[in-house]
Every structure is written in structure tokens, then in C-alpha cells.
């Protein structure tokens, strides 16, 4: 059998990022703390380069390479670009925060870039093994990042939980994949898909495989009842890491759902649809109800993430092209809002002080009307109130479920989003209606202020004119 050299071109961005990670790792060895910003700039350059390469190698028809294990299609291109974008924003937001906490080390950048690489592989996976490979690269790097602040016992605890629960989830996923392999005789998504649509879907092994895969995915997404790790990790990790965990990996998780469930197991829609309905309903209910009781903002946002994941699933479970694009729109919008919310915590934090409780936001309108307004927009967007972009995300997923006749699901989702509105309003109440107790001036770097403002303004502008982003999400769906 002759060894055929695979076509490397579609995977150029991945190859570039991997190379650059090694470069950053080596270069960082020779830098003193004073010159650490070179690492920072190199990392940003990596993301920029990857973005350029991704655009250059994009293809409108799916391109397969590495014996069909890797796919380069337009959905992947768009998702990757948003992963770079949010990671780049994470770097900007967290720079000062990390310096103040003595965490501004090469490890942070290398690990983050490794996670980005893992996410890219996930996004482009067309094979169960590729998905697993990407997922593990992402997870292991993230566990190390959660534990980055090694003197903090709460961070170590969070990392431990994350690692153990993540390992269980991976085990579930692998078990499901092995059953799938047993039933179909292939690891390739395209072949699995054709087997599922042609063969008898009553195959009990196939359904068992599906159950385990859905459990594994729900774990990774942090959906109820597999959500226990989310609040602890969000609260325990340094805010800069939480900022990262809550944004880009959600986009990758969406890609994983699409690749596995839709592209691989689309023929089993009737089966996974019911499972996702249960998971989505539970996530929306539990996430919104428990968030009300939180006093720690990071923890509150963690529960809010759980409910957003439920909403995101509403789009996917519709099983229509409109639904998938609605889900994609939702996840991108969510990443945007999450960046703004956690970014605001970082903005208000300073050396030796974490602004991560609700009380810390008291009277923000007096201290800085502009950033209070940005947070106001973010909170209303998360609650789904127009004219912010969060409303269109909800509108899109709701119309997806109404279209397939699940009106009750839409009603349930909106009722709990009203309950959810309460805790977002409470944040605004602290910012606008209470007197400031902490009157220390808000000091932060100019680039952070500028990007933070842009982030909030974009949430508002997309709320007034969401057309481009919606059209983009629709155009990349088959």
C-alpha cells in the first residue's frame, strides 16, 4: 500500500498555531518578567495569523483531508474566526489582571493557545477520533489553566473537580463512540451518517451509543443534570480564566454538537431530539431558578450560562436548518455577552481586590456612567430584552421550536426567561439604584477600556441591526 501524502492546505491554520505555540514556548524561556509583553504580542500575532490563514484556505464546499478525518467547511471557518476573536479579546481583558496577580507568565499564553488548537481541531473534526483528540487537548489545557493560581486552594479545588468530572464525561463519550464503532464499523462521520440513514435505526446498540454520547456532550456543555462542575469552576478559577472558559469553548462545544449529532447522527434525530428537549428544559429551569439565590456574580453568571446552554439546545433540537443557524447565532451572541460580563468584573477588580460579588457593583453609575451603561446593555441582552442582540438570539431559537410545532416548549422557555430577568435586573439595581460604597477610581489600561466599550456597543448595535450576523449564520448552514 502506497503512502499518500495528505493535502495539508485545509489544515494550515492548525499547523500554524501548533508551530507558533512551540515558538512562544521557546521564546518565553528567554524572556524576563519585564519583557513578558513580547509573549503577549506573539500570542496575539498567532491568533491574527491563524485568522488570516483561515480566511485564505476557506472553501465554500467542504474539503476533506487526512483520509477524511478533517473537514474544512464554511461553518468551521466562521466558528474558528469567532474563536480567535474571543480569545484575542480575552488576552486584552486579562493582561493587567494577570500582571497584578503575578500570573502574567508564558504558561497562560501557551495553555490558552493549546486550548485554541484543541477547539480548532474539534471544529474541523469529521471523525470520532479527531473530535476526541480536539476535546482532550482543550480540556487538559483548561484544567491546567483553572489551577494556574496555584497558591489558591479554591482554584485547585475547582481544577480537581473539573478534571475528575471532565474525565468521567470523556469516558462516557468514548464509551458511546466505541459502541457507535461497533454498530456501524466506522469512525468517520460521513460513513456513520450514511449507515444510520440507510440501516435500521432500531438498532439498540446505536441508541445506547447515542445516550452515552449525549451524556458526554451535556457534561462538556454544562447542561443540567450534568452541570455540577460549572458553578464551582467559574467561581474558583481566576476571573481571566473564567472569562476564557465561558466564551470560546462554548463555540467549540456547539461545533462538537453539530459535528456529532447533526452531521454524524442526523438520522437519529427523533431519538436525540427528545433527549435534548429534556436536557434543555431542565437547564433552563434549574439555571434560572438557582441563579436567583446567588450573591457571587461569577457564580450567578455560571448558572445563567447553564440556562443559556438550554436555550442554545432549543435551536439544535429543532433539527432544521433554521434551527441550526439559530443555535449558531445564539452561541456567538452568548460568547459576546459573556466576554462583556466577565470583562466588567475584571475591569472593576484591582490589585488585591476581586469585584466578583454583586455588592461590588453598587453605585457603578456614579463611579462610571459609561461602563455602568455597558453592563446595563449586557445584562438586558442576557435577559433577552430588545433593543439588544440577546433578543434576536432568543427570537431565532424560539421561532425554530415554534416552527416544528413545539409551542409549549417556547412558552416554557419564555416564562423562565422572565424569572431569569429578575437576577439580571438585580445587577442593574445595584449599579443604578444603590449608592456607591467603594469609591476607588476605576483604573485600567486604555486598550481594555476601548475594547470593553466596543464590546458593549456592538451588543447594542447588533441589537439594532442584527442582519449581517444572522445572514452569516444562515449562509453557512447546509
Amino acid at each position: 500500500m502506497a503512502f499518500e501524502i495528505p493535502n495539508f492546505t485545509p489544515a494550515l491554520p492548525e499547523i500554524f498555531v501548533l508551530t507558533m505555540i512551540c515558538v512562544v514556548l521557546v521564546v518565553d524561556l528567554f524572556l524576563t518578567d519585564k519583557n513578558r509583553s513580547i509573549t503577549y504580542l506573539l500570542s496575539q500575532a498567532t491568533l491574527l495569523g491563524a485568522a488570516v490563514l483561515t480566511v485564505v484556505v476557506q472553501s465554500s464546499v467542504p474539503e476533506y483531508t487526512f483520509s477524511g478525518m478533517f473537514v474544512n467547511d464554511s461553518m468551521g471557518t466562521v466558528l474558528k474566526l469567532f474563536i480567535y476573536l474571543s480569545t484575542s479579546v480575552v488576552f486584552i481583558y486579562s493582561r493587567e489582571y494577570l500582571i497584578e496577580r503575578n500570573l502574567f507568565k508564558g504558561e497562560f499564553f501557551v495553555l490558552t493557545l493549546f486550548s485554541v488548537l484543541g477547539m480548532m481541531v474539534m471544529v474541523s473534526a469529521n471523525n470520532l477520533l479527531t473530535i476526541y483528540l480536539g476535546l482532550e487537548v482543550l480540556s487538559l489545557a483548561m484544567v491546567a489553566m483553572v489551577a494556574l493560581n496555584r497558591d489558591s486552594s479554591i482554584s485547585s479545588e475547582a481544577a480537581m473537580k473539573y478534571f475528575v468530572l471532565g474525565a468521567i464525561a470523556s469516558g462516557m463519550l468514548l464509551y458511546g463512540m466505541s459502541m457507535l464503532y461497533g454498530a456501524t464499523g466506522s469512525l468517520d462521520h460521513t460513513e456513520i451518517a450514511s449507515f444510520v440513514t440507510q440501516g435500521s435505526t432500531d438498532d439498540i446498540v446505536l441508541k445506547f451509543a447515542l445516550v452515552f454520547i449525549v451524556i458526554g456532550l451535556a457534561f462538556k456543555l454544562g447542561a443540567v443534570p450534568f452541570h455540577m462542575w460549572v458553578p464551582d469552576v467559574y467561581q474558583g478559577a481566576p476571573t481571566a480564566i473564567t472569562l476564557f472558559i465561558s466564551s470560546a469553548p462554548k463555540i467549540a462545544a456547539f461545533a462538537m454538537l453539530m459535528r456529532l449529532l447533526v452531521e454524524g447522527l442526523g438520522g437519529l434525530l427523533v431519538h436525540w431530539q427528545d433527549m435534548l428537549i429534556i436536557i434543555a428544559v431542565l437547564s433552563i429551569i434549574a439555571g434560572n431558578l438557582i441563579a436567583i439565590a446567588q450573591t457571587n456574580l461569577k457564580r450567578m453568571l455560571a448558572y445563567s450560562t447553564i440556562s443559556h446552554v438550554g436555550f442554545l439546545m432549543l435551536g439544535i433540537l429543532a433539527g432544521t436548518s433554521d434551527g441550526y443557524s439559530a443555535g449558531m447565532f445564539y452561541v456567538i451572541v452568548y460568547a459576546l455577552m459573556s466576554l462583556a460580563a466577565f470583562g466588567m468584573i475584571i475591569l472593576l477588580s484591582r490589585s488585591g481586590f476581586e469585584a466578583d460579588t454583586l455588592e461590588d457593583f453598587k453605585g457603578l453609575n456614579q463611579r462610571s456612567p459609561w461602563f455602568a451603561f455597558m453592563m446595563l446593555i449586557t445584562m438586558f441582552s442576557m435577559a433577552g430584552v430588545p433593543p439588544t442582540v440577546g433578543f434576536y438570539a432568543k427570537l431565532a431559537v424560539l421561532s425554530a421550536v415554534v416552527e416544528i410545532g413545539l409551542v409549549w416548549l417556547a412558552v416554557l422557555a419564555v416564562v423562565f426567561s422572565v424569572i431569569g430577568a429578575f437576577y439580571y435586573l438585580r445587577v442593574i439595581k445595584f449599579m443604578y439604584f444603590d449608592k456607591a460604597v467603594d469609591t476607588a477610581p476605576i483604573s485600567s489600561a486604555y486598550d481594555m477600556r476601548a475594547v470593553m466599550s466596543a464590546n458593549g456597543v456592538i451588543i447594542l448595535l447588533l441589537g439594532i441591526y442584527p442582519t449581517g450576523l444572522i445572514a452569516l449564520c444562515v449562509s453557512v448552514m447546509p
Binding site: 433578543f391 434576536y392 427570537l395 424560539l398 419564555v414 435586573l425 442593574i428 443604578y432 439604584f433 445572514a471
Partner: protein, 502 residues
Amino acid sequence: MPLLSLVIWLPILGGLAVLAASRHTSDANIRWMALAVSAVTFLVSLPLFFSFDNSTHEMQFVEMAAWIPTLNINYHLGVDGISMPLILLTAFSTIFVVAAGWEVIKDRVAQYMAAFLIMEGMMIGVFAALDSVLFYVFWEAMLIPMFIVIGIWGGPRRVYATIKFFLYTFFGSVFLLVALIYLYFQADKSFAILDFHALQIGMEAQILIFFAFLIAFAVKVPMWPVHTWLPDAHVEAPTGGSVILAAIMLKLGAYGFVRFIMPIVPDASFELDWLIILMSLVAIVYIAFVALVQEDMKKLIAYSSIAHMGFVTLGFFMVFTIFEKSGSIQGAALGVEGALIQMISHGFISGAMFLCVGMMYDRMHSRNISDYGGVTNTMPVFAAFFLFFAMANAGLPGTSGFVGEFMVILSAFQANFWYAFLAALTLIFGAAYTLWMVKRVLFGEIKNDKVAKLTDLNGRETLILGTLAAAVLILGLWPAPLIDVMHATVNNLLEHVVVSKL
């Protein structure tokens, strides 16, 4: 010229400009700037009335542009005889809100003024929107500035009141959203309100849609028994907030009834009109008793608003009974037109009443009726105005309050004697609670030192109340121009409503 867009965006952009200017200029300039924006907006809105074609029910001043083509959502504006007067009312009222906050608001003036200007644009947007998503966006978005206004500049229990206000209305509107999405798929992926009007819908779906709409609009009106947010919101809101709430926001709910419920689900409305009539009559009779025992002036006027809005919904939903009995829409048109006039008139009167209470509160820092007495001795000019508006509130002939109520009661006689009897009781109860309050506040001996030290209205306040008094009088003595504007639209609405869509 895109007149409607101008009326919507001018105050919104003006509000943003006020916010932006606040760093560089004094509060005094901010006030003048806000006043200028609101005045210009009103002037710009006037051509809507003067170039309005009374002879047609078609939408006028239509603007249409693609907004989100993938979901077939359009930036589609237009007004008819129902929405146009309400837009003018909104632009008119905002001027008084800006003027009323002139001296009292000292804290964060720019934010206060900007909130009201932005809210004005959004409320006008609700009235002008012909695309239901656009409608919904404005409908929800205006909650944000109101939430802020009550929360920042409100009274001691402002946080409770404003969160209750927001959640109550938000809860109502989400059902509206689901209903709109459902209709979108029924209407072959169109969000246009006029397409919804033309839809054929089965009875079961109509009933469900009816209730989804009813929750949204009944909360906003507010109808008994979902009115409990209103007294809290009114009492805690600053004067300007109360004026906007009473004069405009309540009308938005009533507007929803004629724009959405009646034309889209007429059969369900026919089937369930007894429910609305019952809720309206309870509001008129029971809430009037509740108003009678209030100690707080603002609360009393808030309850009186609920009772008056009961008249509006009663006027709308008697249509079906009248048509059934008489077979003609002429009698029913009287009720609907009466209800619409009542909406405009209540905008003037309740706004003026809240402004009056606000002026007393600014001087005494109390709204309790028992803290007052003999105000007429120290504030004669004010007392004259207050008495006049109280009389109008009670439905004195010659004032605008009389016209609408009279038309609705007259029309009620065609529907059912008891409807008319119960509705007419309001003339007695309304007079009782309003005039009893006036008696306790204005007349009698000077009650305490604080009242003795009161100063009468200044020029600004006299101008505000004088203008409103003139409006109440003109509409009361000569309502014909307003009725002419509405006539074609109302007839078309009724012809549409009495045709089954099953």
C-alpha cells in the same frame, strides 16, 4: 420626507446627544436642550395631523425598508386614524414631562432627561410600527428607560416598585412574543401586522392567541385583576414618570386591543367578549370604591386611571353584542370612538392631575391627603386648576372627560341596559372620590403651618397647567376634528371585526 422615522429617531438621538453633552455643559443647558428636543419633536409631529387624509382607512405616511431579510422582518411604519392621535399625544406630553422635572430633578439631570426623550421615541415607535417584531422591539425597549427612571428618581420603595413593574410587564409580553412567532408561521413567514389581519385562523388557535395577547395587553392597560403593579409604580415614580405612565403607557395596552386582538382573532373576541366586559365593569365599579378609600393622592389617581381605562376596554368589546343585536356597525362605532377619545382625554387629564400632585409634593414633600387642607387659601391659582382637572376627571360636561364617557355609556345602552347602568355609576363614583379628595385638600381651614407657608404657582407651572387646561377644554367643546380623523379607520376596523375568520 420620512416623517414617522423623524418623529421616532429625533428624540432618541436627541436623548443620546443630551447624555453626551452632559460632561461638557451645565445642568441648566441640559434642561434647555431637552426642552428644545421635545418641542421640535412635537412640531415635527404636527404635519401628521394636518396632512392626514381623513377619508381613508389605509395606512398613511408609510415607510418600508428591509431590516432582517432572512427572517422577513421589515422596518415598516405607518399610521391610521387610531395611532396618529396617540403619537401626537406622546409628543405633546413629553414636553410637560421635561418641563415638570425642571427644578425638582437635581441629581443626574442629563440621564433623567435622556431617559424620557429616548422613551418618547420608543413609544411613538410602538404606535407607528406595522411590523410586529418592530412593534415588539419598541414595546419592550421602552421598559428599560422607565425601569431606570422609577429606580433612580423614585420614592422610598422605588426598587420594589420598579422591579415589580418590569417583571409584570415583561411577563405579559413574552406571551405576545410566542403568539407573534406562531402567527409568523401561519402567515407564511411574514411578521407584517396587516398580513396577520388577513389570516384565517381556527377557533382553538384563536382562543389561545387571544389569551396570549390578553395577558400582554391587560397587564399594560392595566385591567383588573392584573393592575396591582400600577399603584406601586405610580406612587414611587417621580412626577414625570407618573405622567408618562398614565398618559401614554396605559394607552399602549389599549392600542394593542384594537391593533392586535380584535382584528386578528375576532371570533375568539366575540366568544370571550363577556370576559373583557366583566373585567372592565369590575374595574369601573370595584376599583372606584378602592380609589375612594385611598390616603395617598397619587394612589387615588392611579386607581382612578384603572377605572377610566375600564371604560376604554368596555367601549371596544361591546362591539360584538351591539352588532349581534342591531346587525349594524353604526352603534358600535360610537362606542369604539368614545373609547378612543377617552384614551386621548385621559392622557391630558391624568397627566395634569399627576402634575398637580407633583407640584404640591415639591412644596410639601407629602402626598398624604391628611397632611393637606385649605390649600386654596395659599395657592388660589393652583386650586383653580386642580379643581378644573378634578371636574374633568369626574366627567364634567364641557371637558374632554365627558365626551368619551358619554359616548361609551350611550353605546352601552344599545348593548345591554345593565352595562350602561354599571358604567354610568362611574359618573357618581368618579365625582365622589375625586371631589372628596379635592375638598379635603383644597378647602376648609388652613390645616397646618406647612400649608400656611405654601407659595402659589410660578410662571413655568402656570404655563404647563394652563396649556393642559386649554387642551382639555378644546377637546371637550370641539371633539369633531378628532372624531373625523378616527372615523374611517374605526368603520373599517368594525367591518373587518364582524366578519368571521374561521
